[in-house]
Amino acid sequence: MIEHLSSDQLSDCVLGQASRTVAQHVQHCPACSAALMEFRESLGEFQSAVRRWSDVQARQYQAGNYRADASRATPRRAPELSIRSSSHQLAWALLIAVVCVIASFVFPRHGSDLIGSDAALLNQVDAQVSRTTPSSMEPLMKLVVEEP
């Protein structure tokens, strides 16, 4: 007769694989019987708790998904919103264009002055570019021309 169940023997009992000797001991030993019952009960309650928790999580996840789907569906109003925002943009563009036109009438001289100075600058650049000899070579060119 064994004294008390070892951890492995208790595990065997929990797994339903106890030997005949172990099973007989459990029947006659109140301490081992109580320990086994307590462990089985704990494992059973653990299983139930995990199942309930999983069910709750699944329901919450699905509810969350539905909410997410619903919120994803709301942007169906987006065309209206985008039209509104695009009309805002158009209004701003028109306003800026009107301001520009008015400004061109109010300050015409500044514009013509600018055009004039631009033209002078361009002519200067043209003259520099169209020179046959670079400015740094000009003294040499003079010497070459003067020699004959």
């Binding site: 797994l15 309650e45 653990f46 708790a49 995990v50 709750v56 999580q57 699944a58 996840y61």
Partner: protein, 202 residues
């Protein structure tokens, strides 16, 4: 990612109860009634994934991947185990891959520092028990939950398959790809750790 089921699969011909009684279903029925199969086994696969990963999003992803792979591999189902065991086999592999990938992801720290799950809060009060006995039982459940989280991955998988999914040793061996003796050893070690966990806590 949402699991998409083709229209011809959506028409179920077998009731879930009939499908569950299948031990070795023929592949044609499996194909025809895939929608019913999803309906029946989805909660079980999700539960196992959730208990293993403790992350609802990850569990949902694993569940969807599991049925997607099952659908893709339905022609290769050898009918040498039940559908439940076959699906658990796929889920075990997906969970293992997920855990392996997560080791390299920085947000794992976030998970580890996240608020722990209060599993004891999901125990049902038994009126036949005294409040002290109920509190003690809740403590034990919490201790098992904590101990299960600390188990090495293989032991945890085996433990959850046995004590959450009610698979027997042979089914566990098939689902995990272990030898029967190896599965039994892992289960014994897991049980010992869990018992020690209960002892430490109480």
């Amino acid at each position: 990612m949402q699991l998409s089921v083709t229209p011809e699969l959506a028409t179920s011909e077998l009731a879930p109860s009939q499908l569950e009684s299948y031990v070795g279903p023929d592949v044609a029925a499996l194909t025809r009634d895939f929608e019913a199969l999803v309906q029946l086994y989805r909660p079980k696969v999700f539960r196992f994934a959730l208990a293993s990963l403790r992350d609802v999003d990850a569990a949902e992803t694993v569940t969807q991947d599991c049925f997607l792979r099952a659908y893709q591999a339905r022609d290769r189902f050898r009918q040498d185990c039940s559908i439940h065991t076959w699906l658990m086999q796929i889920a075990v592999n997906l969970i293992r891959d997920h855990i392996r990938n997560r080791r390299f992801q920085f947000w794992r720290r976030t998970r580890l520092t996240a608020k722990p799950v209060d599993l004891a809060g999901h125990t049902i009060a038994d009126r036949a028990k005294s409040p002290e006995a109920q509190a003690l039982l809740r403590e034990r459940v919490a201790a098992i939950w904590t101990a299960a989280d600390r188990l090495p991955q293989k032991q945890r998988t085996v433990f959850l398959l046995r004590f959450v999914e009610d698979l027997d040793l042979l089914e566990i061996a098939v689902a995990t790809g272990m030898k029967l003796g190896t599965a039994k050893t892992h289960l014994h070690r897991a049980l010992r750790t869990v018992r020690e966990g209960i002892g430490e806590r109480l």
